[in-house]
Each structure stands twice: as C-alpha cells, then as structure tokens.
Symmetry: C2
Subunit: 337 residues, 2 copies
C-alpha cells in the first residue's frame, strides 16, 4: 500500500561513518560505545530522523514490548477507567498497549488472544470474558503471560487479580441494617460473571446469617437501562424493598433515577441504595452513591509489576492470585453513616 520509507540503521551508520552495530549499540541501553561514536551516531540519527524498528528488534530479542489489552464494554466508566490506569502503568514501564475490543463477535476473546500471539505480545491482560482453556494454554506454553482481572478463574498459570466481593457485600449489609433497613433486594444483570455473582451470593449469604431474606432480580446487560428495568420490577412488588444493593454503579444510577423520577421515592429516606465500582458518576450531586471503590491504581501496579518480574517458573508456571480489598466510599444514598 503506502510506500513507507523509514530510515534504517545502515543509513545512519553510513552518514556517521561507523558500522551498523555501532548504531545498534548506541540505542541499546547499557551497551559499550565511546562517547565520540555515540555523538556521531546520535547526530546522524537526528538529522535523518532515524527511529529503531521495534518490529525487527522484537524479532531478534524475542520480546516485543507489546502488551495486549482484551476488553469489552470499552466505553463504560469502569472499563475506560481501568484502561486508563493500565496504559499509564504500562507506558511507565516502557511497554506499549495493544487494544483489542471484544464487543463484536462471540468467542472473540480467543480471537483476541490469537492477535496477541500474532504480534508476539509479551503478555495479555484480560478484562472481559474468559479465554478457552486450549488457547490460554497455548499462550502460556509460548511464554506469553496472562493476567485475568476480576475474572476469578480456576486456571493455573495466569495471574488472577480479584476483589473481595463477598466480604464487601457483607459490609454493605451491615450498613443497611444500621440504617434500619430490613426489606432487602439485590439488583443484578444477567451477565453472570464471577465477580457479579460473588457480590450477589455474598449479600444473600450475609443477610441469611442475620435471618433476613433478599429479593434478587436479574436483568439484561450491566448498564444504566437495566438499572431502570430492575427498579421497575423491584419497586412494584407488594413488599417494596427499603434497601437495594446494585451489582454495579451503572445499575445503581439507573435504579436511583427510576426510583426518584418514576416512582417519586426519596433516596435515602425511603430507600437506601448502594453500588459497586465507584465510577465518576457515583460522586455526582444527582447520585451521591455509597459504593465500593475498585483499587484501580493497585490493580494496574500489581499487574504490570508481575509482568516485569523475572521469568515464570517453567515448571507449570507458579499459580499466582491476588485478592484486593474494596474500600467503602460513604455518600448519602444510605441513611446514617
């Protein structure tokens, strides 16, 4: 297609009157070059607009510097926030993010991982879906690292970073009880991902431990609109709940809006609401949602530092799992405090 004409190391070498290797060494941190040649090379490179070809370098070094981010629902506040911190952290450690959007086809996580292999990515970070066992094994066998965030998979080999969802659910139950709520509900999507289900199960279990029942409702995709539908369903019951734990903030925003504008219910006076993720909108004046903060910075740091850490034990790759704590962010969608 486009007639690309990049400057090569040879041209720089010619102009500087040195060998190709001298040029290569100049751009290799920690290689031995005399200050004089270095200067000449840098000068020629600058004049010619030379930039090391990372494709070729990756080929030789067997290390591309590419990390593949596999993501769906790219435009949701939580996911985009995740991508933001991950790209920052990756760039900070000299890597570059390749972004694969899996919104389109089904089973596209596998397709995405194939892309990662094609470009010889040093690692893949999966924020959505679950890879097929076989393709995941291929990645690991090929020496590619795998990080699963909020996927809670049983597979061996990848790094798994998860939150303590159950425990958080228990804490929010206490908060509801302190606010005097007894008619509990849980609003979930039908996505059924491990972390979503852990929140649900944790909440139900904690309630049961206190001798209380929870009305659970699930609907559609984990977004604002689903929150409205869930409100429709939960707030039209004979026994209207006085406390709702929503599986995500996005659901909670939709739920609150429906409760207030459609059912004229006052939050938190007549209904306490809690969410999960602490997306930016949770802090907006219209919501002031009590929620759990995803420790984004920590997640990114842990993920990237694990990628940087030396080679994984070839012997079946040591199994690593990190469970992080989610801080409760108190706002006014729950009475008291």
């Amino acid at each position: 297609m486009s007639q690309k004409v990049f400057v090569s190391a040879q041209e720089v070498a010619d102009r500087a009157g040195v060998s190709r290797s001298a040029v290569s060494r100049t751009f290799t941190p920690g290689a031995s070059v005399s200050p004089e040649t270095r200067r000449k090379v840098l000068e020629a490179a600058d004049a010619l607009g030379y930039h090391v070809n990372h494709l070729a370098r990756g080929l030789m070094r067997n290390e591309s510097g590419i990390v593949c981010l596999i993501v769906s629902d790219l435009a949701t506040p939580h996911r985009s926030g995740m991508i933001k911190v991950l790209t920052q952290e990756l760039q900070h450690s000299g890597k570059i993010a390749m972004l694969v959007n899996t919104d389109l086809s089904d089973g596209s996580v596998d397709l995405a991982l194939r892309q990662a292999i094609h470009y010889r990515a040093d690692a893949s970070i999966i924020l959505s879906g679950m890879p097929d066992k076989s393709i995941a094994q291929l990645c690991l066998k090929s020496g590619q690292r795998l990080v699963l965030i909020n996927r809670d998979d049983e597979q061996d080999g990848p790094l798994r970073i998860n939150l303590d969802d159950e425990e958080a659910a228990g804490r929010i139950l206490i908060a509801f009880l302190r606010a005097g709520c007894r008619k509990l509900a849980f609003a979930n999507s039908e996505a059924g991902t491990p972390s979503l289900m852990a929140r649900e199960n944790g909440f139900v279990a904690a309630a049961r431990a206190h001798g209380l029942d929870v009305v659970v409702e699930r609907y559609g995709w984990t977004g604002y609109e689903s929150g409205r539908v869930l409100a429709q369903r939960l707030l039209t019951r004979n026994q209207r709940p006085d406390a709702v734990f929503c599986a995500t903030d996005l659901l909670a925003c939709g739920f609150m809006d429906a409760a207030r504008h459609q059912f004229s219910i006052s939050v938190p006076d007549q209904l306490c609401v809690a969410g999960f993720d602490d997306i930016e909108q949770a802090s907006w004046a219209s919501y002031q949602l009590t929620t759990f903060a995803q420790p984004l910075a920590t997640i990114a740091r842990e993920a990237v530092s694990w990628l940087e850490s030396g080679p994984v034990a070839n012997s079946e790759g040591r199994t690593s799992a990190i469970r992080l704590h989610a801080d409760l962010v108190w706002r006014s969608s729950i009475r008291g405090g």
Copy 2:
C-alpha cells in the same frame, strides 16, 4: 526475560513435509496453493499451534497492520466512546489498535508519534493535543498516515475530521430564543482547543447577529467539576442568565447539578441548558440534556476508509478535510421543542 518459544513456519513445514514457502502461501490470502498441501499445512499448523509472526511479516511487507491511537482523557465518556468505535472499525478492516495515553507528560503527543514510528504503525489517529510540525512531517515523509479528529489543524497532509461547531452553535441559539431566553451565557473550559473555541465563537457571533450579548466564562479542565465551578460563577451574577450553552456535556452535567442542588434553580423552567457530545449521561433521567451528537460511527468509518484507500499522492500528499454535521438531540433541558 520470559523464554518465549513460538512455533515457526519452518517447524510447520517440516511436520507437513513441505517447504517454508508453502506454509507462507497457505496463510497468505489469494496465494496459489493446492488443496492438498493446504490441508497438510493447516493440519500441522493446528497441531503445533502455529501463528504467523506479524512482526516478521510487517518487516517484509513493510506494513505492520498497526494503527496508533493517541489519546488523552481516556476515561471520559466521549473519548472512550470514540475509542470504542475506532477499535471496532479498525478490527473490522483487519487492523489492530495500539493505544498511547498522553495524559502524563507534556509534549507527549510527540512522544506518542515516536512510538508509532518505532512500531512502524501504518497510521496514527490523534484525538488529543497537537503534534509538533516537525514530527508530523517525519511521519508523513516516512509514509505514515495521520488523522486528526476534532483538531482543526492547518497542516497539510493529514486527514482532518471536524464537526461544524459554529453552525451547531447557531442552531442552539435559535432554540434558546424560541424558548424565550434572552440572557445568554456560555460555559467553557480553559483548554482552548479549536473545537471548543469554535463552539464559543459561533455562539457569541450568532447572538450578536441577533443583537444579544453573551456572558462567557472559562474555567479549568473540561470536566464535571469545572461545570460546577462555572455554575457558581455564572449563577451568582446580578443578571442571572436564563440560558447556558456548555461547551461539552460533562460541563453541562456539572452545571445542571449545581444549578439544581446548590441554587435550587429549576431546569428548564428557570434556566435552559444545552451541551455538546451526547454522552450517555446526557440521556439519563437526571439530566435529559439537549445536546449535539458526535457522529461517532461516521467519524470512525471515514477515518478508517481513508486509511484503506490507496497510497496518498506522494506529491505533498493531497490535503483532505472532512466537515461533519452534528445532529441536535432534543431533550427536556430546554423549554418547548
């Protein structure tokens, strides 16, 4: 670092009992291979877990398939929405997105473009900041394509996609006038990007054409919090405005929240508000913001199809600019309709 051991074409060839070239041809669309060899190769490849090395392929073909997305404020609804459609469109046409986050350092757009060159990206799409003239020239000279979205630059060579911001500003003025508003205000950030300024200038000019003045206030970064500050400033004036055009939806959300919750002003009864971008939150029940929709799908399609179109005229690369129309999305933050 990690001992990566990917399967090579040679290994596949050996196992299938054919030559390397046969393997290569099997994976090159439109190459001539007999069904028989093809089958043997595919079988061996599958058994071994072979995947074409795009690094090496890019080296040979002088075409990496990589497109670099250069972005700041990654986590805002508008930017993430943009990234979503762009990645979809790119993947759809067989390309892959490399994401560079420029939130960190200043002048990092140049750094980002350097990364694009390092990885021999076929093109770069810039959603934020402006590249230095020299580095942009280097990209173009190297045969890399450049797309600037909502940057409205004068430079020659790159494709420039912009909205008709001035014209849109004129339309919203009419809407305000029809609603009976006469005390106009414009809420802007201090970012001063061309599109933001075009909205401001277009609004002021249109008002002047109708013999009306506009109070313009600018503050901080283009986010929710700035909207609140701007409301603070504009709503405490002697002459309180009865209509505010906010440069973006995010500003508008902050503005509306402050107006309602802090100043107990009713929107749209006492104050009409309009925004720009049509982010998801604009449609939420708490805002119901009248705004202009960014034609995201069209933008992405235009950008990617331009990348696919044959080689740019080497003779100074024909100058291409696309100006798109922003549809007005009517909701209830303006009276009437």
